[in-house]
Amino acid sequence: MQFKFTQENLDKVNDVIKRYPDKQAAIMPVLWIAQAQNRWISNEVMQEVAKVLGINPEEVLGVVTFYTMYHQKPMGKYHLQVCTNVSCMLRGAYNIYENVKKNLGIENMQVTADQKFSLEEVECMGSCGTAPMIAVNEDYYENLSVDKVNKLLEDLKKSI
């Protein structure tokens, strides 16, 4: 699928480029802008990012595949990130993770059939003092229990 930055995002891209002495440095922020627009980083997005920055697409590919937060496939509308690292694990994160899997019927890095939910087991999110936690897209939900998670999932299922 063809990808072009919207005019508004193109302005943002040009603004970001000015922060760095060379254009390659803008790869990460520009990819963030692209992902906000397209929801995931396709080959076409990488081509376009490379074109806008005047660099090789391979450079962009190298960055996209190194960092876990750039999605290399379309994820759900609600991308659930469950931390299972030590501090969360000690407070029951695996119960929550298994519960989310059961509730949605998907495994790690899978998307539900209606494209609404996707699940990712993530490393420490810096919520150790408010563990366990789930991040839904960009928002943290902290101090969770299995009941609270089920409630959260029901609310998300109802929303459009």
Partner: protein, 440 residues
Amino acid sequence: MEKIVLPDIKDLHLIEVYIANGGYTAVRKAFGQSPDDIISQVKKSGLRGRGGAAFSAGLKWSFMPKTTTKEKYLCVNGDESEPGSFKDRQIFEFNPHQLIEGILITSYAIGAKTTYVYIRGEYHKWIKLFEKALSDAYQNGFVGQGMKEKFGTDFYCDIFVHKGAGAYICGEESALMNSIEGKRGYPRVKPPFPAQFGLWGCPTTVNNVETITNVPPIISKGWDWFAKIGEPKHPGTILFGISGHVNKPGVYELPSGTLLTDLIYNYAGGVPGNKKILCVIPGGSSMPPLRGDQLEGIKMDAESLKAAGSAIGTGGVMVMDEDTDLVKVLARIAKFYYHESCGQCTPCREGTGWLLKILNRILRGEGSVNDLDLLISVANNIEGNTICALGDAAAWPVKFMVMRFRDYFEERVKKEIKLPVANKVHSMRNTAFPLSEIKN
């Protein structure tokens, strides 16, 4: 007790509240002195880095070349990905202007015109909060071109936020610089150190968020005031993030040298159900774990923890009660480093995978006593044989946990192993080695 980094002032994140409480006066005072003066004051204050290595901040600044035609840069490390650490987000949320003021003073001291604040990508909320504070500071002329008019100096500097994208390794200073340059977060071989060859080959200083936030009070109240707080060899307060099996997990700002038992029982409210403590990791998951029955008298500062056989790290304390499955914890830690190894160095790339495989084998009940020695051997072959400290960070928890909890792990492999008694080779039934191996 005085708090330096996170004072109890309501709405301190607002610029008007920060100014009303004496904010942005330290930077004015700093501009009245020479950069060398500032560096020497920070050096004398004894301020040590809060990002893990506890290196003298003033000494680090003094490595920046005085005469150079190149640009100079400051990077502020807010990657905060060490499991068990959640302190920097408190600064972004509750005291962002003190961080900004610290950046201004540091930039002036080392002569940097541009600062990049590297914040991990997961911290969307805190990036927004910090960017709001930053734009207020810009509008009020505290940052950028406006500084010339505001402070009546020739010096001015810019601050930009660089958002990470989910890579633990970018908390390593040279990987962080590569990440800012738009490359994969591969650590660089040192030397050359960042002060000689940093961002785009220019002199660069990388400091942790908490370290920089400590700078304005040192300038306004004096280095001698700061040097008197807490332990003389590691002065100041430290943000301790305590998590795991405690009643009141959270971030506590306490003088360095606070007793670990005080932190756990008095501040964090003790262990739920009054259970005994089995294990404590005192400085984030990379640091050597301590036995729960040997916590008495351990002080929380770099030197004391070193003497106790661990390290202060990021001050992220993880507490595990007596019912914790340590094998599971260690396997989870190993999984983390296996996932986060950047893959440049063979010992780390392959070794972390082997640590995980062996630990999973023990977890499945198929481990043997030999596996414990094997774990230590693999860990020893990673440690010190890699470009950056991630290798050490992966090796330490495994090596020290197995060594310090040898009884626990031996019990575990003995209890669950299917062929229980070792070294009785004459009886094929009673051997710890798989039968297939013996036939060969």
